[in-house]
């Protein structure tokens, strides 16, 4: 079986790529996509460690997978509210560039 280190290293790479996207892209929706990448990297690490800790009993091991489930629900809520804000901002500015976005007062 593939060792846990490989999965966690893959998770680290994906997380770094997501952070890089947040830093370099200027469009708000691209920043959202990069944040999704980072969330999924965290999920992958949790699932990998859930398998790693399966000798400690079902309570410990399955709590990792349950945490992934909750993160998924939170990500859905975040996307819904974030895209709503994005649409609201877009009505006034007609550009999704976040650098010029100094006044967000809804």
């Amino acid at each position: 079986m593939v060792p846990t280190e490989y999965y966690v290293a893959l998770s680290a790479i994906i997380f770094t790529i997501g952070a890089l996207g947040v830093l370099t892209r200027r469009s708000a929706i691209m920043i959202f996509l990069s944040v999704e990448l980072m969330l999924n990297a965290a999920n992958l690490a949790l699932v990998a460690y859930a398998r790693q800790w399966s000798a400690a009993g079902a309570d410990v091991a399955l709590s990792g997978q349950a945490a992934v489930f909750i993160i998924l629900a939170i990500a859905a809520a975040e996307v819904a509210v974030g895209l709503g804000i994005l649409v609201a901002i877009f009505r006034y500015r007609t550009s999704s560039d976040v650098d010029g976005l100094a006044q967000v007062r809804l």
Binding site: A12, I17, L33, S54, Q65
Partner: protein, 172 residues
Amino acid sequence: MIVGAVGVITLKQPVHAALSLVGTLLTLATIYVGLEAHFLASIQVIVYAGAIMVLFLFVIMLLNIQQDPGPGAFKWLRPAAYGVAGLAGLALIAAVTQNTPPLPAPEVIDATLAGGGPDAIGTALFRDFVLAFQLVGVLLLTGIIGAVSLVQRKAVSVQESETERPLEAVSS
């Protein structure tokens, strides 16, 4: 999967980047199957690659977002970000690959995780995570109310501008 993730942050067209993210998420679902998390794999495909990404694509097409404008006022930021991200990635990999104990036997993994099925996860979710589960419910309700209120405010402002415009035309 790494190719898909790189595509998310390098492709110019937002639609292409979103589709690249869909590919990344589907690949992640197959990795979940390999990690004995079958329920999470199906949820990943249905909720993430299905619902959330459809929402993204809807917004991209609704707003008609064009290409990324490229580096603007902060031109020095991009190479600096690449350098820092490379260093951080190497440091993360070095940190997480040290001193990991060996995996337990496959029989132990199978017996404990039970394939990551809905019954196993449901037991953990409704017994140990019941408070978090309730709080997520409250959070989702808050998200619904927030999204609806944003749309509501927009509708009110549109109505005001529509009623004001004829008055100005008459006075001028």
